[in-house]
């Protein structure tokens, strides 16, 4: 059952990215290009998603639990830290270089564009490497805390 729900959510998400043309790197780059021929469409995409997600999340959280799985899986509340700030800064550079972020990249698999498939392959390698760096870093921290 979770598979059916998440497949439906993925389809809706991909359809939304397609309808809003966020699958088009040219449009995303034109939004990011404030000094050029600026295309503010992305602002309206954000507005549309928040117009639904803000009240929608509020209603869902009022239920106290999801339909299946027992409880909501939310990120632990953590203070601002260097990985968040640095990671976000690095992520933005990748986004700005190609005009593609992970959601649109995966949705663009539908185009079978070789550039997108290579973007995804490189992204997965980056994720696996960064994940092992992160694990090693937290292991070192724990060792330091014990000594």
């Amino acid at each position: 059952m979770p598979i059916i729900y998440s497949l439906l959510a993925g389809i809706m998400f991909g359809a939304g990215l397609t309808l809003s043309d966020m699958v088009n790197p040219a449009r995303v780059l034109n939004f990011l290009d404030v000094a050029g021929d600026w295309d503010p469409t992305l602002v309206f995409v954000m507005a549309g998603s928040l117009a639904v997600a803000l009240p929608g999340y509020r209603l869902v959280f009022r239920r106290g639990a999801p339909l299946i799985g027992g409880k909501f899986s939310l990120p632990a509340k953590r203070p601002l830290d260097l990985p968040l700030v640095g990671g976000a800064a690095v992520f933005g550079v990748g986004w700005g270089l190609a005009g593609i972020c992970p959601g649109p990249a995966l949705t663009d698999i539908a185009t079978l564009e070789p550039k997108v498939l290579l973007f995804i392959a490189a992204m997965l390698i980056g994720m696996v490497l960064a994940n092992s760096w992160r694990a090693r870093l937290s292991a070192t921290r724990e060792l330091r805390a014990q000594s």
Binding site: G16, G48, L54, F72, G87, V90
Partner: protein
């Protein structure tokens, strides 16, 4: 050239928001694409892989369905960056979203909708560095 499209942008955005709310309502999960795909590749929990792979498979299916019902014209869709830049950009986006705990969907949609202070800061930072990157590559290089 892309022409400003506020209406289809807003409607598409609303569908993205609906997807995020639906995923939270049904299985209690955040619709953060980078975290979903990363944990599908590197499982952190025993039962966590199948729903994530299903979500990822749904993304291109959504594009295909939208096109099949005649709501998408792909003629203006352009991949301007060269192949080597694509590979570098993908790698950087993968590293950054992993270290920074999320990407555009997780921070700028789900995080903002939950008023998460970390996501608000992350969104402000990645939009700024992305704009700076485009400025450098388009206007200074």
């Amino acid at each position: 050239m892309t022409s400003f499209a506020p209406l289809s942008g807003f409607i598409g955005g609303a569908l993205i928001g609906l997807s995020a709310v639906f995923l939270m309502l049904t299985i209690g999960r955040i619709a953060g694409v980078s975290s979903i795909v990363r944990t599908a590749v590197i499982p952190g929990e025993p039962s966590g892989r199948s729903w994530r792979l299903a979500f990822v498979a749904g993304l291109p299916l959504g594009a295909i369905l939208t096109t099949a019902v005649g709501l998408k014209d792909w003629s203006s869709v352009g991949f301007a960056a060269s192949l080597p830049i694509m590979v570098i950009a993908g790698f950087i986006a993968g590293v950054g979203s992993t270290i920074g705990s999320g990407c555009t969907s997780g921070h700028a949609i789900c995080g903002l909708a939950r008023f998460s202070p970390r996501s608000i800061i992350a969104t402000a930072i990645f939009i700024t560095t992305a704009m700076a990157t485009v400025f450098l590559t388009r206007h200074l290089a």
